[in-house]
Amino acid sequence: MKTIYTDALVIGGGLAGLRVAIGIRRRGHDVVVLSLVPPKRSHSAAAQGGMQASLGNSSMGQGDNEDVHFFDTVRGSDWGADQDVVRMFVNTAPKAVRELAAWGVPWNRVERGDHQSVIDGKNVTLTESEEAHGLITARNFGGTQKWRTSYVSDGTGHSMLYTMSNQAIAEDIPVHERMEAVALIHDGERCSGAVVRNLKTGELINYVAKSTCIATGGYGRLYRATTNAVINEGMGTAIALETGVAALGNMEAVQFHPTAIFPAGILVTEGCRGDGGLLLDVDGHRFMPDYEPGKKELASRDVVSRCMETHIASGKGVQSRFGEHLWLDIRLLGKKHIDTRLREVKEICNYFLGIEPADSLIPVRPAQHYSMGGVRTDFRGESPTLKGLFAAGESACWDMHGFNRLGGNSVAETVVAGMIVGEYMSDFLESSAGDITVSSALIRDAYNKQAKYMAGFGDRNRTENPLHIMREMQELMSANVAIFRNTERLSSAVEKLQQLAIRAQKISVRSSARGANPDLVAAYRVQKMIKLSLCVAQGALQREESRGAHFREDFPLRNDKDWLCRTLATWSEGATMPTLNYEPLHVNKMELPPGWRGYGVEDRVDHPDTAARQAEVDAVRAKFEGGDRFAAQEALMPYSDKLPEKLRRRNARLGEKGDTQ
């Protein structure tokens, strides 16, 4: 039994995990990063479109600031987000972009003078100022009032992850690749590391740590049609769930992206529409203005995806051998724009569809894309129920996305969360809370339990093929727990998932050879994935309202009166279903009280406190009208003491001075 000791264990080598590790390292602690794959292959690399931060450098971004970004994000979340966390986020995002700029990300820059652009299907000329020349530019994304998404062509995530990973190498941070955390070591109160399986040799190893951070990304592979990488199976989220102590938040909040190429499910970025691309139906008709006269193609993702599915259901889809789809038209952007700003999109179209997007339409249909839910933490990134366990990035639910995430807010979140959680984990390590005394019995038991569990799959009486069960689960989720949900489909999904869980007990692994053993990997993962699927399906079934990406045909309105709360799922050992609890969101503390998002359905059931809070907010705003926006914010919802000190200062912009040190 091999055991490795470290101050901090970071499970996940994507943007979030690496930034957490760099923060901890810079505070002088030992840190080890684990990753299923070489860190530069983490799914963060797939982010194409960009990263939101209110720099306001480009002409279409002028007037942008933290406040506007805050409003957009909260509206996007359909008021599901924790507004303190959103505030922390919008104040840190510009710092994150600038830090990455200093570390080497080749952000696209503003170029002075006139430029041709396409807005709302029309050619327009945009003029950039001399003063902004050479600063970081931005493109348009859905659900935002300003052009705010910083980008590197359409390889933003790639550039960010390479820069981050290189920075981690510069800091000498060990990354143990092809290592999979299969269980957390804990005693019911305190987490002290993880049992880890070496995916090259099959060996089990204990990593004992004073603090552990889960940064394992999303759980998109619960679905058959998804833009996510094949490693996004939610394993980090699942091992937190299996502690029985840590809770998962809002697992039913699953985002579907409007433009996944059909049928492969590979994403083409929202930047296509942000840059002026249109959605067309079988007749070549641009249908989005019919549904969303305001934001059209650039309403938030949940809204656009629903419109697309509705439009297909109305008989306007394009028939093909694989089923129905719609068209994405980026021909109007021109070859030059596509060749320079949408290169990955072009390559994907060339290789997977055999078409040239400058001349042909792209077949698209919504597919699962993002997991808003994850390991529930406080604003520090720490689990409120399991001490020493932190989480950051897509796998976490500190809750800045609520029920729908805006495009470009996720890679921004990963880095921002990394900056914040890295500091709080370091504080934790430096405080008495960070001390641990782990008994060797605890470690041994955790290890033996996993060893025995893995060996169990070799039992002769077992017959099920793990990969077949996985496929059935994915198809079930895609069919019944997707964009349009209702009682009937959800309860049948829960029932069938439970049956699958029983069958999964009989999974057999046919090879016992040493080494990675992909069959065994699939076996233990699918059992965990079914648990996560049940959290999603059961959460969706119980939430009898529609909010953000969670849409119930039988409860089509947002219901703040009964459902302005966060779902918390836990799983007791030996249980067959998750336990669901609800944590309320407090209207009377909100800087932006619940209202209409500006797109989507306007009707809703209001919370009884909303009107009073709105009046309060209006009064404060009136008082500060035309004055200091920071003072107004402070009066409405003070949050800055929640940020680590070094991240509190104000951001400089063209025409707005920042706090210097």
Partner: protein, 259 residues
């Protein structure tokens, strides 16, 4: 926008599959070896599979694992040609398997792991550890002593320069250039086009304060630029079509001048 606007769809493309009728039976020969298993000897296994519409090697290999041999090892992550996990030799040539359509291949397909990297099992090789070693050796990060305050405006950069840097940064560390390079195959310490290109990227970047003499220190030898024999397998087989020939020449010139 008027609701009646019709957009030109005359060039409507149908989902392109040429082999809709007449689907073939493919024979896939796969290199097999599990170095962890003392009883395993390297050999080729042959599988037969029904071709499907739009089938990629990603789909084909997963189907084989699902229905024919659960022990088959291979690596896919993004399955969209952007992460560099799935490079392997397809009929002798290194390429990304996930974006290789079977319809572009003959009926008999031979798959082998990328040469030049440690074998993990079957088609899976350890490019990650190799690349980390390369990064540490060549110090592929921005070296700067300037302390920038990130509450202040970012440093300006010419838009064109940013584009140029990105052009070189598109490398996905797939390892195809190492597998396609005779030099790297013969001399395991050679940093290859991937390494030299990455240094060229940092040399171009004004944020990196290193001088040519600094770069010479890490790449000015037989394991670096002067080891490259200009076979250009790298340039011809890089799946991201990086301008490797130019970068190799550029670094050779700069390093020669620095000497």
């Amino acid at each position: 926008m008027s609701q009646n606007t019709k957009h030109e769809v005359s060039s409507l493309n149908t989902i392109p599959v040429k082999n809709v009728d007449g689907l073939r039976r493919l024979t896939i020969n796969i290199f097999r070896h599990n170095p962890e298993d003392a009883n395993s000897v390297p050999h080729m296994d042959s599988f037969v599979i029904e071709e499907a519409d739009s089938m990629t090697l990603f789909i084909a290999l997963n189907e084989l694992r699902e229905n024919q041999d659960p022990t088959l090892q291979f690596d896919f992550v993004c399955r969209a040609g952007i992460c560099g996990s799935c490079a392997m030799l397809v009929n002798g040539r290194p390429t990304l398997a996930c974006r290789t359509l079977t319809k572009d291949l003959p009926e008999v397909i031979t798959l082998a792991p990328l040469p030049g990297f440690a074998l993990i099992g079957d088609l899976s090789v350890d490019t990650g550890v190799w690349m980390r070693g390369m990064s540490e050796r060549l110090q592929t990060w921005v070296h700067s002593q300037e302390e920038r305050d990130f509450c202040e405006m970012e440093e300006k950069m010419e838009p064109e320069l940013a584009d140029k840097i990105y052009e070189l940064e598109r490398c996905i560390e797939c390892g195809c250039c190492i597998a396609a390079c005779g030099t790297a195959q013969m001399r395991p310490d050679f940093v290859g086009a991937v390494g030299i290109n990455q240094l060229a990227r940092f040399r171009l970047d004004p944020r990196d304060e290193r001088t040519d003499a600094d770069f010479y220190e890490v790449v000015g030898d037989e394991n670096g630029v002067f080891g490259c024999m200009t076979l250009l397998g790298c340039d011809d087989m890089c799946p991201k079509s990086l301008p490797l020939a130019q970068q190799l020449a550029y670094m050779r010139r700069k390093m020669a001048l620095a000497s």
